[in-house]
Amino acid sequence: MVNTLIDGLKERISKAITINQSVGIMLPSKNYSDLTQALLEYICSRTEDAWVYVTITKPYDNLIKQFGDLSGLENIKFIDCISRAAGISNTNPNCVFIESPTMLENLGLEIINVFKNVDDDTNKYLILDSLSTLVIYNDLEIVTEFFYHLANRTRARNIHSVSLMIEEEGVDSQLNKLIYLNDKILKVRDSFI
């Protein structure tokens, strides 16, 4: 069953991000690993595109361990916002490490820096995993401001973005407003797939 779920997700993601500049994906936490798997498998299949995967949820090393074939891919670069704060000091040429998830200006700068090395003709995609974890480390207002800035900069450079938002029970509706800044919202529900 899990495979059909993942395939279904891949298809929906694929459709949404080719049409829209920015996509927000809302999902319950129990679907989180299926979704990241679907996303990463999708990225692996899109070798001609340039991807930047910002992880605030899991350290880069964990992602690599979980999806072993990622480290060899040329088309995907990672920005890890939590390893350093957790005291992990590994380095990797495929990953930029940000000192702390509170360093939002630094994060914004590194995202643009990574895309600077990509030529104009290549399709560019950004994944933010996730907006909800950014809000754990920062006030909602500053994350909103960050997200506005980021949206302007990615739009100006024709970078498509996918932002994840993990929904918890009884979640603050303010948080939902953040995800609605995207052009298109996908809600992941088991029944949808």
Binding site: T102, E105, N106, G108, L109, N113, I142, E145, F146
Partner: protein, 242 residues
Amino acid sequence: MPEEELCVTGMADLDNLLGGGIPVGSTVLVVGSSGSGKTTLCMQYLVNGAQQGERGVFFTITEPLFKLTKNMEGFSFYDKKLIESGMVNLIDLRIISERLGLDTEKYSVEDAAALLDVLKDIADELNVKRLAIDSITALCYRLQSKEMIRDFIFKLGSSLAAMNCTTFLTSEVPPRKFQYSQHGIEEFISDGIIFLGDIERKGDLIRTFQLIKMRGMAHSRTKSAMIISSNNGIELAPLLKS
């Protein structure tokens, strides 16, 4: 507005805030507390200049040369070839004052004059267009009165300006204080002030960068976030206001 010749720092974000660059011949005070990035900023400024064919000299007082070079080697911008070729010259001011036979703790008026002459001679002989003194605080500490400090910086600044050399002086201040120098004089004799500070966010310190003044330029005064990385050295980004 008259066309003024500008010294392009080569740090694109900074040049943008400045409105192109620093008026050639200016003396700029780079103010910040310990670890704020003063030395890095000066070095990147000199290296960028050298790459554009402008020779530079870095006078260090606070750090011995071996430590300075070791720290700078961590940055991609630090190109050893520029040092070897003499496009960027690193000089330990303490060694110079020793050779001049100056008292290491206190300079008399004659000592200060002798040191000033040596600095001018070096700048002149090497035909440098960019110069940094790291730090002017440590140098001023050896000068015994406000008058001597004023006189020293003023004469240094005017001689270097006459050589079309644009100068960075670093100024050490206590953390999180709105103060530009230890002696309260340096900022008034300088043409420009760059303030490297920080703000606290959720217990982390975010580096900030602010242009306080730049005579002759209509520059931005907004506070930016500053990022130091081994790949790009110093970069600026709009500071989030929330």
